[in-house]
Homo-oligomer: 197 residues x 2
Amino acid sequence: MLGARKRTLKYVGALAAIASITISIVHISESAAQGGKGGQLQPGTSTASNKAAPVFGIKIFPGYRDWALVSVAHEAGELNDIRAILGNDVAIKAYREGTLPFPDGAVIARIAWKYVPSEENDKAFGRPQSFVAGSAPDWYLQFMVKDSKKYATTGGWGFAQFNKDGNPSADAAKLETCFPCHEPAKARDFVFTRYAP
Amino acid sequence: MLGARKRTLKYVGALAAIASITISIVHISESAAQGGKGGQLQPGTSTASNKAAPVFGIKIFPGYRDWALVSVAHEAGELNDIRAILGNDVAIKAYREGTLPFPDGAVIARIAWKYVPSEENDKAFGRPQSFVAGSAPDWYLQFMVKDSKKYATTGGWGFAQFNKDGNPSADAAKLETCFPCHEPAKARDFVFTRYAP
């Protein structure tokens, strides 16, 4: 019985390894096609489902977790998250050169984690002061995608949101609130986040 | 006189351009040699001086601002900063694969900005809740560099700190406190920051 279970586990393990390699190859190809950096399967973000978010039809960009950093922020209140804003090569170049509006092809990714105190860090510092990235909230991953023709009615930007499992986590009604909310930042092409040098 | 000044400025400008190109080439070569991504001179961080920090002899790693994100944090209290932790390819690979100890060649960069409220974001959210990256404090940039032979007496890690102008901003006495402070994280090869997936 134990032997049979071992053999079954070995078989399942081999299948899983094949599946994992297949998924990795698919990701590398997709990433290369889009000119992104890296192509590994991202921990915590299965893009295997590859479902498009509603309204703007945006899918998760392979390799986004390797994009360069734009800036960081903490949203207190109900969100209570700590976040990183990343950009693909087109977005980062535009940010660094001060190009406005952002050119087509620019993509900005926002990753949020729950804002949690770190007991371990506090001990090292000798006082309670350290807050770090915890688990992923439902609004884990957002994208702003610049395509001045496709998204002409929303300032040239498409918006999407995904949870940590790679599934869209904002319905059409919610995504339609994105652009009106971004309108105060019109002078910076509707992008709130400034580049942190 | 104005003509002469113009010619002089043109000459100085040409020299500066050549110097800039030379520096860029040096950075690209260094970056390529170290397997880093990108090689452009980083805004806000002149590496032209390229001074080594004391004790461990570490210089600013060209292209570090393009490295992938490890995680984010907020240090309240006296520091009152918001920070991003980045890793070079060796460090990121080790983090994602759970490799401990980190292999030689792993470099972790920590960038800190002053923690400031964002009035603009608060208006968009309709309540005071948003904190973003402000100006650069004196402890702007830190590196942890893994070299198990060179830094054998400090757990295989060398430590350095630079200000936004690219100058070392921690003296020998201060840098010698880095390793003892990191000792509580011995089980994770003296690295406090965990990877945020």
